[in-house]
Symmetry: C2
Subunit: 457 residues, 2 copies
Amino acid sequence: MVKSMFSSKYVACLVSSIILNALFIINIFVGGQWNLSWTSRAAAEAETVAAISCSGHGRAYLDGLVVDGNEPVCECNTCYAGSDCSQFIPDCAANADGGDPLFLEPFWMRHVASSALVEAGWHRMSYTFNDHTFISKELERIIRKLHAIVGNAVTENRFIIFGAGSTQVLNAAAYALSLENTSSSTGIVASVPYYTLYKGQAEYFSSAKFKFQGDAYTWRKKSDAITNMIEFVTSPNNPDGRLNKQILHGPNVKTIYDRAYYWPHFTPIPAPADEDLMVFTLSKLTGHAGSRFGWAVIKDENVFNRMTAHININSMGVSMDSQLRAFKLLKAVLEGEGKEIFDFAYQTMKARWERLTMALSSSKRFSLQKNNPQYCIFYNRVREFSPAYAWLKCERKDDKDCYAVLKAAKIIGRQGNKFGSEDHYVRLSLVRSHDDFNILIDRLNKLVSEEDGAKTM
Amino acid sequence: MVKSMFSSKYVACLVSSIILNALFIINIFVGGQWNLSWTSRAAAEAETVAAISCSGHGRAYLDGLVVDGNEPVCECNTCYAGSDCSQFIPDCAANADGGDPLFLEPFWMRHVASSALVEAGWHRMSYTFNDHTFISKELERIIRKLHAIVGNAVTENRFIIFGAGSTQVLNAAAYALSLENTSSSTGIVASVPYYTLYKGQAEYFSSAKFKFQGDAYTWRKKSDAITNMIEFVTSPNNPDGRLNKQILHGPNVKTIYDRAYYWPHFTPIPAPADEDLMVFTLSKLTGHAGSRFGWAVIKDENVFNRMTAHININSMGVSMDSQLRAFKLLKAVLEGEGKEIFDFAYQTMKARWERLTMALSSSKRFSLQKNNPQYCIFYNRVREFSPAYAWLKCERKDDKDCYAVLKAAKIIGRQGNKFGSEDHYVRLSLVRSHDDFNILIDRLNKLVSEEDGAKTM
């Protein structure tokens, strides 16, 4: 009896132990962690930092500031403070200025396993890839595939070049299209309202080759007489989301189509874009502005070669780390049917536009741009625009400085004059974080509620 | 007896099972893998690719070309071929052209755990850091610490700016130092032999602001009469490794010290550099040329602000991915006393110089630059130079095209004229991979052995 009890205890112990072993084995094999060796330290480090709670109003990063001890501290969103970012700062101004595309951050939080990147210390130390170019062929392949799935650009028989964000690519394009070996300078224009960078770059880098010449409309009738013109066409336009077309035509006119926002989250896609030179950026596609990764799709080989030479002398190509990141992120985008990110991003932008329209619906003081719905080949139906920015107009004659009107109501937008336009206009960014957008809507609600003096707060 | 045997078997089983339990637990806790969740897929992926054997003559990368199936294939070093890079191509030319710093790759293979980087999909999507700058403060802190440990630069009370490699930083410096709002253009000079990029950039970006004016020596006596001059001083010099000092002096002369090679692997460090504007790069420190990360140490706040403005309009700062990579790599460098990488790199360069000197010791046709030993505050002793490049001279009058002489012997160097010098000179890169260097020495040995006709092969 004693022996029997003894052996049944043994059996119970043995069974437990075997079950525990089985669990370990399942954990290890299903978790795929069996062979992890040199990556485990860095992986544990990254997971530790990712697990730091910042109350949903901030984030800790691997390379974040370290105050006490060794772990990075929370970096709080605008209007939030405290060690865990839980304190709301009541009098804080809503930031609707820059185009930081943080509205996509929640998508990457949800797809954290497919988008995580593990990079060895010895990864691609060379200046170039094995084919002596600065361009990852696999990344190029993925970009072409993505354009094909979305249907927003023709890439067959086109060259693709990479740059440090569309910023560097746009400048390379302006240099490349300016004629070489000529004493006459090329004029650079864009139709008002235009993205301020075109003017900023053309003026900063002003050379014998090119000169900024203002609004494209003012050159419409003169353009035949002018030798060389480059028109920047932003489509969808920054700030107003319109699907701009070129204003100038003729044998001496060259165009650079800035297609940064030509993705289904912001606009109907009526047809694949098929211009001579089209510029795209990761920033407004996946939301990774900080990675500084942009590309151009180019028809002409000479233009491609000149742009390549420009990027080389400017920065010797694009960071291998940015290219690897873009590769990993776009691979995650393409998992499944490759439509999930667009659905997420479109729903987010659509919901934001609904809230914004609602907030301003009773206002006579402020109006928004109108873009009529169009057929979208990506969603196979007529749909509304949901642009990255609101192009707000202060309708009252006295509100000449719309930026100041908003600023007094604790809303920071961007002045109309920065887009070559009147200061009756202000651009409000709608692509920023959930927190920034919520505060913007709160401030707008308050401003509109005070419009006729009916409500005081 | 049967029962006893039965229970002793039980005991044996139980003990084994418990030992296995213990082993699993030790593996899990000591391996630090207990909690790995979202990183494990990417970690396994990276380890799988890293484990692909390329015979030590090539490497497979995460974003490498995929031919069959899903795994990237081996990318072979110059002169090696085959699916595992095991086939030597006998007639292949030695590549001693570019400054690809692959000589440091073995260091990172040895320190693979400390240098591995795990980056979440949501890592730093914004254009800027939380302080609204493009500069990681933690990375800046690490860079200052590294300069302090090495003793190669004074960084106290200096500003630090980042750029896409020293390439972008050098151009930003030239723009920043060119006077604003003036009709007279600034001359840009460098003493022969000089790094060709200074000329290339100045000519390509030639504007109303600056113009390339050739060799600094020819302006030595004229410089007082000239309004504005910028002298690029490369110290140690590329191509010859000399610790250059500025040639021009005076109130209208500004200098940009290119300190890319001012690290203990290449040169004695006589004292901490303390110039107004010093440029460094990750490429020649850790070997990560592909990461495009450089920095400048700047005394004057106005110059710092202008350079910041330049980098912003050119590329809106530096890739967050490059900054995170630099952060991780430099943190690994600083582990322990922070001297291990310099010891490895110095020993490698020293050994290469010994082999090179030996190969050319019996030659009367070819000579190398001579740099007299100097006291090094890093190693606390007098030591030889071990520059990144050999500045080879073809001594025969007939060998006017030294590049062609070497090319005929299947050695690809870089022509003297690219450095503003005579074509009696050729630069040979000594910082490339072990394979490239071995082939170079083989080819040189053969070339020298044929010099007097004594040997034929």
